[in-house]
Subunit: 187 residues, 2 copies
DNA sequence: CTATAATTTCAGTAATTACTGAAATACAGA
DNA sequence: TCTGTATTTCAGTAATTACTGAAATTATAG
Protein backbone atom coordinates (compact mmCIF):
# COMPACT_ATOMS: atom_id res chain seq x y z
CA UNK A 1 0.00 0.00 0.00
CA UNK A 2 1.24 3.50 -0.60
CA UNK A 3 -0.23 6.43 1.23
CA UNK A 4 -1.54 9.59 -0.34
CA UNK A 5 0.45 12.71 0.59
CA UNK A 6 -2.37 13.89 2.84
CA UNK A 7 -2.44 10.74 4.90
CA UNK A 8 1.32 10.51 4.75
CA UNK A 9 1.74 13.88 6.39
CA UNK A 10 -0.81 13.06 9.06
CA UNK A 11 1.00 9.82 9.86
CA UNK A 12 4.40 11.50 9.95
CA UNK A 13 3.14 14.28 12.19
CA UNK A 14 1.81 11.79 14.70
CA UNK A 15 5.10 9.96 14.61
CA UNK A 16 7.03 13.11 15.45
CA UNK A 17 4.49 14.21 18.02
CA UNK A 18 4.63 10.81 19.63
CA UNK A 19 7.91 11.60 21.31
CA UNK A 20 6.39 14.62 23.05
CA UNK A 21 3.57 12.45 24.24
CA UNK A 22 5.85 9.79 25.63
CA UNK A 23 5.01 7.22 22.98
CA UNK A 24 7.44 6.24 20.28
CA UNK A 25 7.39 7.07 16.63
CA UNK A 26 6.29 3.62 15.52
CA UNK A 27 3.32 3.53 17.84
CA UNK A 28 2.28 7.04 16.88
CA UNK A 29 2.42 6.28 13.19
CA UNK A 30 0.55 3.00 13.48
CA UNK A 31 -2.23 4.68 15.40
CA UNK A 32 -2.42 7.55 12.95
CA UNK A 33 -2.60 5.16 10.03
CA UNK A 34 -5.42 3.19 11.59
CA UNK A 35 -7.21 6.40 12.49
CA UNK A 36 -7.42 7.59 8.90
CA UNK A 37 -8.05 4.18 7.36
CA UNK A 38 -11.58 3.37 6.38
CA UNK A 39 -11.08 -0.37 6.58
CA UNK A 40 -9.28 -2.32 9.28
CA UNK A 41 -5.71 -3.29 8.43
CA UNK A 42 -3.69 -6.35 9.20
CA UNK A 43 -0.18 -6.22 10.59
CA UNK A 44 1.47 -6.84 7.27
CA UNK A 45 -0.39 -4.04 5.55
CA UNK A 46 0.70 -1.72 8.33
CA UNK A 47 4.32 -2.85 8.13
CA UNK A 48 4.20 -2.34 4.39
CA UNK A 49 2.57 1.09 4.49
CA UNK A 50 4.95 2.44 7.12
CA UNK A 51 8.10 0.54 6.13
CA UNK A 52 8.57 -0.99 9.56
CA UNK A 53 9.55 -4.55 10.25
CA UNK A 54 6.76 -6.97 10.91
CA UNK A 55 7.98 -7.51 14.46
CA UNK A 56 8.07 -3.81 15.19
CA UNK A 57 4.45 -3.55 14.11
CA UNK A 58 3.59 -6.45 16.36
CA UNK A 59 5.10 -4.67 19.33
CA UNK A 60 3.48 -1.39 18.41
CA UNK A 61 0.06 -2.99 18.20
CA UNK A 62 0.62 -4.65 21.54
CA UNK A 63 1.39 -1.25 23.03
CA UNK A 64 -1.69 0.33 21.47
CA UNK A 65 -3.73 -2.58 22.74
CA UNK A 66 -2.46 -1.97 26.27
CA UNK A 67 -3.72 1.59 25.90
CA UNK A 68 -7.05 0.21 24.68
CA UNK A 69 -6.74 2.34 21.59
CA UNK A 70 -7.27 -0.32 18.92
CA UNK A 71 -10.01 -2.77 18.16
CA UNK A 72 -9.10 -6.24 16.95
CA UNK A 73 -11.40 -8.02 14.53
CA UNK A 74 -11.50 -10.82 11.99
CA UNK A 75 -12.72 -10.81 8.44
CA UNK A 76 -14.68 -13.83 7.19
CA UNK A 77 -12.48 -16.36 5.44
CA UNK A 78 -9.27 -14.68 6.55
CA UNK A 79 -7.39 -15.83 9.58
CA UNK A 80 -5.23 -12.77 9.94
CA UNK A 81 -5.98 -10.23 12.64
CA UNK A 82 -7.32 -6.88 11.54
CA UNK A 83 -6.97 -3.69 13.53
CA UNK A 84 -8.86 -0.44 13.56
CA UNK A 85 -9.11 2.70 15.65
CA UNK A 86 -12.52 3.22 17.27
CA UNK A 87 -14.57 5.81 15.35
CA UNK A 88 -15.94 7.84 18.23
CA UNK A 89 -13.37 10.52 19.01
CA UNK A 90 -14.98 11.36 22.34
CA UNK A 91 -14.68 7.74 23.38
CA UNK A 92 -11.04 7.80 22.33
CA UNK A 93 -10.51 10.90 24.41
CA UNK A 94 -12.02 9.23 27.45
CA UNK A 95 -9.92 6.11 27.00
CA UNK A 96 -6.76 8.12 26.65
CA UNK A 97 -7.54 10.28 29.67
CA UNK A 98 -8.34 7.19 31.71
CA UNK A 99 -5.16 5.40 30.83
CA UNK A 100 -3.01 8.43 31.39
CA UNK A 101 -4.54 8.92 34.79
CA UNK A 102 -3.83 5.33 35.72
CA UNK A 103 -0.23 5.48 34.57
CA UNK A 104 0.82 9.04 35.22
CA UNK A 105 -1.29 10.30 38.11
CA UNK A 106 -2.40 7.45 40.34
CA UNK A 107 1.11 6.30 41.30
CA UNK A 108 1.99 9.83 42.34
CA UNK A 109 -1.21 10.25 44.33
CA UNK A 110 -0.50 7.04 46.16
CA UNK A 111 3.08 8.04 46.91
CA UNK A 112 1.90 11.40 48.22
CA UNK A 113 -0.75 9.82 50.38
CA UNK A 114 1.87 7.65 52.05
CA UNK A 115 4.37 10.45 52.45
CA UNK A 116 1.82 12.70 54.11
CA UNK A 117 0.85 10.11 56.72
CA UNK A 118 4.14 9.73 58.57
CA UNK A 119 4.80 12.28 61.28
CA UNK A 120 7.76 14.49 60.47
CA UNK A 121 10.73 14.45 62.83
CA UNK A 122 12.37 17.62 61.59
CA UNK A 123 11.37 21.03 60.24
CA UNK A 124 12.40 20.25 56.66
CA UNK A 125 10.12 17.25 56.49
CA UNK A 126 7.31 19.25 58.06
CA UNK A 127 7.68 21.81 55.32
CA UNK A 128 7.97 19.16 52.62
CA UNK A 129 4.80 17.51 53.85
CA UNK A 130 2.91 20.79 53.71
CA UNK A 131 3.94 21.12 50.06
CA UNK A 132 3.01 17.53 49.31
CA UNK A 133 -0.33 18.02 50.99
CA UNK A 134 -1.05 20.98 48.73
CA UNK A 135 -0.03 18.98 45.68
CA UNK A 136 -2.07 16.01 46.76
CA UNK A 137 -5.16 18.10 47.33
CA UNK A 138 -4.83 19.74 43.93
CA UNK A 139 -4.34 16.51 42.04
CA UNK A 140 -7.16 14.81 43.88
CA UNK A 141 -9.55 17.68 43.27
CA UNK A 142 -8.72 17.87 39.59
CA UNK A 143 -8.82 14.13 38.93
CA UNK A 144 -11.99 13.55 40.95
CA UNK A 145 -13.67 16.32 39.07
CA UNK A 146 -12.37 15.04 35.77
CA UNK A 147 -13.63 11.54 36.43
CA UNK A 148 -17.04 13.02 37.29
CA UNK A 149 -17.12 15.02 34.11
CA UNK A 150 -16.02 11.98 32.13
CA UNK A 151 -19.11 10.13 33.19
CA UNK A 152 -21.32 12.59 31.34
CA UNK A 153 -22.56 11.54 27.92
CA UNK A 154 -21.10 13.25 24.86
CA UNK A 155 -24.03 15.56 24.37
CA UNK A 156 -23.91 16.93 27.91
CA UNK A 157 -20.14 17.11 27.91
CA UNK A 158 -20.23 19.09 24.70
CA UNK A 159 -22.76 21.51 26.13
CA UNK A 160 -20.74 21.91 29.28
CA UNK A 161 -17.66 22.75 27.28
CA UNK A 162 -19.40 25.09 24.88
CA UNK A 163 -20.61 26.90 27.94
CA UNK A 164 -17.02 27.74 28.69
CA UNK A 165 -16.49 31.11 30.26
CA UNK A 166 -20.11 31.28 31.29
CA UNK A 167 -19.30 28.74 33.97
CA UNK A 168 -18.73 31.50 36.48
CA UNK A 169 -22.20 32.86 35.97
CA UNK A 170 -23.59 29.38 36.39
CA UNK A 171 -21.83 29.05 39.68
CA UNK A 172 -23.39 32.22 40.94
CA UNK A 173 -26.77 30.73 40.16
CA UNK A 174 -26.05 27.41 41.76
CA UNK A 175 -24.84 29.22 44.83
CA UNK A 176 -28.20 30.92 45.13
CA UNK A 177 -30.08 27.75 44.30
CA UNK A 178 -28.16 25.64 46.81
CA UNK A 179 -27.11 23.05 44.25
CA UNK A 180 -23.81 21.34 45.04
CA UNK A 181 -23.96 22.59 48.61
CA UNK A 182 -22.70 19.26 49.87
CA UNK A 183 -19.43 19.87 48.07
CA UNK A 184 -18.42 22.81 50.16
CA UNK A 185 -15.61 21.06 52.05
CA UNK A 186 -12.44 23.01 51.78
CA UNK A 187 -8.76 22.53 52.79
CA UNK B 1 23.39 18.63 51.75
CA UNK B 2 21.85 15.26 52.39
CA UNK B 3 18.16 14.70 52.04
CA UNK B 4 15.91 13.18 54.65
CA UNK B 5 14.38 9.84 53.58
CA UNK B 6 11.00 11.50 53.13
CA UNK B 7 12.27 14.10 50.71
CA UNK B 8 14.57 11.55 49.12
CA UNK B 9 11.67 9.32 48.18
CA UNK B 10 9.67 12.23 46.83
CA UNK B 11 12.59 13.28 44.67
CA UNK B 12 13.23 9.77 43.41
CA UNK B 13 9.58 9.24 42.59
CA UNK B 14 9.50 12.38 40.49
CA UNK B 15 12.63 11.25 38.74
CA UNK B 16 11.09 7.93 37.77
CA UNK B 17 7.78 9.52 36.88
CA UNK B 18 9.55 12.03 34.72
CA UNK B 19 10.02 9.51 31.95
CA UNK B 20 6.28 8.90 31.72
CA UNK B 21 5.74 12.63 31.49
CA UNK B 22 8.27 13.09 28.73
CA UNK B 23 10.80 14.89 30.90
CA UNK B 24 14.02 13.27 31.98
CA UNK B 25 15.03 12.01 35.38
CA UNK B 26 17.37 14.90 36.11
CA UNK B 27 14.76 17.54 35.40
CA UNK B 28 12.14 15.70 37.42
CA UNK B 29 14.40 15.38 40.41
CA UNK B 30 15.56 18.97 40.32
CA UNK B 31 12.00 20.18 40.22
CA UNK B 32 10.95 17.88 43.02
CA UNK B 33 13.84 19.02 45.16
CA UNK B 34 12.98 22.68 44.66
CA UNK B 35 9.35 21.97 45.33
CA UNK B 36 9.99 20.57 48.78
CA UNK B 37 12.74 23.01 49.70
CA UNK B 38 11.82 25.85 51.98
CA UNK B 39 14.65 28.08 50.80
CA UNK B 40 15.80 28.68 47.24
CA UNK B 41 18.83 26.65 46.20
CA UNK B 42 21.77 27.43 43.99
CA UNK B 43 22.97 25.13 41.26
CA UNK B 44 25.79 23.71 43.28
CA UNK B 45 23.55 22.80 46.19
CA UNK B 46 21.26 21.00 43.76
CA UNK B 47 24.13 19.16 42.09
CA UNK B 48 25.39 18.16 45.50
CA UNK B 49 22.04 17.01 46.85
CA UNK B 50 21.20 14.94 43.78
CA UNK B 51 24.71 13.80 42.87
CA UNK B 52 24.54 15.20 39.35
CA UNK B 53 27.28 17.05 37.57
CA UNK B 54 27.16 20.79 37.76
CA UNK B 55 26.64 21.02 34.00
CA UNK B 56 23.74 18.60 34.09
CA UNK B 57 22.05 20.77 36.67
CA UNK B 58 22.63 23.80 34.51
CA UNK B 59 20.87 22.13 31.60
CA UNK B 60 18.10 20.86 33.81
CA UNK B 61 17.43 24.33 35.18
CA UNK B 62 17.41 25.73 31.68
CA UNK B 63 14.79 23.18 30.73
CA UNK B 64 12.67 23.97 33.79
CA UNK B 65 13.02 27.64 32.99
CA UNK B 66 11.72 27.05 29.47
CA UNK B 67 8.67 25.46 31.09
CA UNK B 68 8.38 28.52 33.35
CA UNK B 69 8.42 26.21 36.35
CA UNK B 70 11.19 27.84 38.36
CA UNK B 71 11.75 31.28 39.76
CA UNK B 72 15.24 32.75 39.68
CA UNK B 73 16.32 35.09 42.44
CA UNK B 74 19.38 36.55 44.12
CA UNK B 75 20.29 36.67 47.77
CA UNK B 76 21.86 39.87 49.09
CA UNK B 77 25.63 39.71 49.11
CA UNK B 78 25.73 36.51 47.08
CA UNK B 79 26.23 36.59 43.35
CA UNK B 80 25.10 33.04 42.70
CA UNK B 81 21.68 32.38 41.23
CA UNK B 82 19.10 30.83 43.49
CA UNK B 83 16.14 28.84 42.24
CA UNK B 84 12.80 27.97 43.74
CA UNK B 85 9.51 26.45 42.68
CA UNK B 86 6.54 28.83 42.87
CA UNK B 87 4.46 28.13 45.98
CA UNK B 88 0.97 28.31 44.50
CA UNK B 89 0.15 24.85 43.22
CA UNK B 90 -2.81 26.11 41.21
CA UNK B 91 -0.57 28.55 39.43
CA UNK B 92 1.87 25.72 38.74
CA UNK B 93 -0.95 23.66 37.32
CA UNK B 94 -1.95 26.50 35.00
CA UNK B 95 1.59 27.02 33.83
CA UNK B 96 2.06 23.35 33.14
CA UNK B 97 -1.23 23.06 31.28
CA UNK B 98 -0.40 26.13 29.24
CA UNK B 99 3.01 24.92 28.23
CA UNK B 100 1.80 21.45 27.39
CA UNK B 101 -0.92 22.90 25.22
CA UNK B 102 1.61 25.01 23.36
CA UNK B 103 3.97 22.14 22.79
CA UNK B 104 1.75 19.12 22.46
CA UNK B 105 -1.58 20.35 21.15
CA UNK B 106 -1.17 23.51 19.12
CA UNK B 107 1.15 22.00 16.49
CA UNK B 108 -1.33 19.20 15.89
CA UNK B 109 -4.26 21.60 15.67
CA UNK B 110 -2.41 23.63 13.12
CA UNK B 111 -1.50 20.56 11.07
CA UNK B 112 -5.10 19.40 11.13
CA UNK B 113 -6.40 22.80 10.12
CA UNK B 114 -4.19 22.74 7.04
CA UNK B 115 -4.98 19.16 6.14
CA UNK B 116 -8.70 19.79 6.29
CA UNK B 117 -8.55 22.75 3.94
CA UNK B 118 -7.33 21.05 0.77
CA UNK B 119 -9.97 19.41 -1.37
CA UNK B 120 -9.54 15.66 -1.54
CA UNK B 121 -8.96 14.04 -4.93
CA UNK B 122 -9.73 10.49 -3.92
CA UNK B 123 -12.09 8.63 -1.59
CA UNK B 124 -9.37 7.70 0.90
CA UNK B 125 -8.43 11.30 1.43
CA UNK B 126 -12.06 12.26 1.75
CA UNK B 127 -12.45 9.70 4.50
CA UNK B 128 -9.22 10.75 6.17
CA UNK B 129 -10.35 14.35 6.17
CA UNK B 130 -13.63 13.45 7.81
CA UNK B 131 -11.70 11.75 10.60
CA UNK B 132 -9.35 14.68 10.92
CA UNK B 133 -12.25 17.07 11.08
CA UNK B 134 -13.73 15.12 13.95
CA UNK B 135 -10.40 15.12 15.75
CA UNK B 136 -9.91 18.81 15.11
CA UNK B 137 -13.31 19.69 16.43
CA UNK B 138 -12.78 17.65 19.57
CA UNK B 139 -9.39 19.11 20.34
CA UNK B 140 -10.56 22.62 19.66
CA UNK B 141 -13.63 22.25 21.84
CA UNK B 142 -11.66 20.79 24.71
CA UNK B 143 -8.79 23.25 24.57
CA UNK B 144 -11.01 26.30 24.10
CA UNK B 145 -13.07 25.23 27.07
CA UNK B 146 -9.97 24.51 29.08
CA UNK B 147 -8.49 27.90 28.37
CA UNK B 148 -11.77 29.50 29.44
CA UNK B 149 -11.81 27.54 32.65
CA UNK B 150 -8.19 28.40 33.27
CA UNK B 151 -9.04 32.07 33.36
CA UNK B 152 -11.17 31.60 36.45
CA UNK B 153 -9.60 32.46 39.78
CA UNK B 154 -8.65 29.66 42.10
CA UNK B 155 -11.68 30.05 44.33
CA UNK B 156 -14.15 29.77 41.47
CA UNK B 157 -12.23 26.97 39.82
CA UNK B 158 -12.23 25.04 43.06
CA UNK B 159 -15.98 25.49 43.44
CA UNK B 160 -16.56 24.41 39.86
CA UNK B 161 -14.56 21.27 40.42
CA UNK B 162 -16.11 20.44 43.75
CA UNK B 163 -19.40 20.67 41.98
CA UNK B 164 -18.36 17.69 39.91
CA UNK B 165 -21.13 15.33 39.00
CA UNK B 166 -23.72 17.99 39.79
CA UNK B 167 -22.71 19.70 36.56
CA UNK B 168 -25.43 17.90 34.66
CA UNK B 169 -28.09 19.32 36.94
CA UNK B 170 -26.60 22.75 36.49
CA UNK B 171 -26.87 22.41 32.76
CA UNK B 172 -30.52 21.59 32.99
CA UNK B 173 -30.97 24.83 34.89
CA UNK B 174 -28.96 26.89 32.48
CA UNK B 175 -30.99 25.40 29.65
CA UNK B 176 -34.12 26.74 31.26
CA UNK B 177 -32.53 30.03 32.13
CA UNK B 178 -31.15 30.57 28.64
CA UNK B 179 -27.56 31.02 29.77
CA UNK B 180 -25.02 29.92 27.19
CA UNK B 181 -27.68 29.75 24.53
CA UNK B 182 -25.35 31.19 21.91
CA UNK B 183 -23.21 28.10 22.22
CA UNK B 184 -25.70 25.74 20.70
CA UNK B 185 -23.89 25.10 17.41
CA UNK B 186 -23.32 21.40 16.93
CA UNK B 187 -21.37 19.15 14.46
C1' DC C 1 -2.59 -34.99 13.87
C1' DT C 2 0.08 -32.46 10.34
C1' DA C 3 1.23 -28.77 7.46
C1' DT C 4 1.22 -24.13 6.94
C1' DA C 5 0.27 -19.46 7.88
C1' DA C 6 0.16 -15.81 11.45
C1' DT C 7 2.01 -13.84 15.33
C1' DT C 8 5.19 -13.10 19.14
C1' DT C 9 9.47 -13.22 21.42
C1' DC C 10 14.03 -12.07 21.98
C1' DA C 11 19.00 -11.43 21.37
C1' DG C 12 21.72 -8.45 18.92
C1' DT C 13 22.40 -3.94 16.91
C1' DA C 14 21.23 0.76 15.62
C1' DA C 15 19.70 5.14 16.97
C1' DT C 16 18.65 8.32 20.34
C1' DT C 17 18.94 10.63 24.54
C1' DA C 18 21.24 11.66 28.90
C1' DC C 19 25.26 12.96 31.28
C1' DT C 20 30.00 14.43 32.19
C1' DG C 21 34.32 17.15 32.35
C1' DA C 22 36.88 20.51 30.19
C1' DA C 23 36.90 24.75 27.96
C1' DA C 24 34.62 29.01 26.96
C1' DT C 25 31.92 32.72 28.36
C1' DA C 26 29.74 36.01 31.45
C1' DC C 27 29.77 38.74 35.23
C1' DA C 28 30.67 41.23 39.77
C1' DG C 29 33.88 43.55 42.59
C1' DA C 30 38.44 45.67 43.20
C1' DT D 1 40.63 47.69 33.42
C1' DC D 2 41.91 42.92 35.58
C1' DT D 3 40.82 38.78 38.62
C1' DG D 4 38.45 35.46 40.49
C1' DT D 5 33.98 33.16 40.64
C1' DA D 6 29.61 31.63 38.50
C1' DT D 7 27.48 29.77 34.63
C1' DT D 8 26.96 27.76 30.03
C1' DT D 9 28.36 25.26 26.11
C1' DC D 10 29.78 21.37 23.81
C1' DA D 11 32.30 17.28 22.25
C1' DG D 12 32.81 12.83 23.80
C1' DT D 13 30.91 8.88 26.17
C1' DA D 14 27.54 6.28 28.79
C1' DA D 15 22.98 4.66 29.19
C1' DT D 16 18.66 3.93 27.38
C1' DT D 17 15.35 3.00 24.06
C1' DA D 18 13.93 1.56 19.44
C1' DC D 19 14.15 -1.66 15.84
C1' DT D 20 15.29 -5.82 13.20
C1' DG D 21 15.63 -10.70 11.65
C1' DA D 22 15.61 -15.24 13.06
C1' DA D 23 13.62 -18.57 15.85
C1' DA D 24 9.86 -20.03 18.66
C1' DT D 25 5.13 -20.20 19.48
C1' DT D 26 0.34 -20.19 18.45
C1' DA D 27 -3.53 -21.04 15.70
C1' DT D 28 -6.24 -22.88 11.86
C1' DA D 29 -7.61 -25.60 7.92
C1' DG D 30 -7.47 -29.94 6.10
Amino acid sequence: MNLTPLRQSFVLHFGEMGSRWGINRTVGQIYALLFVSEKPLNAEEIADALAFSRSNVSMGLKELDSWKLVRLQHLPGDRREYFSAPEDVWAIFRTLADERRKREIDPTLSMLRDAILVSPDNPQDAFAQARMRAMHELIETVTDWFSDVQKLDEQTLRKLMKLGAAAQKVLEFTGKLGLGGSNERNG
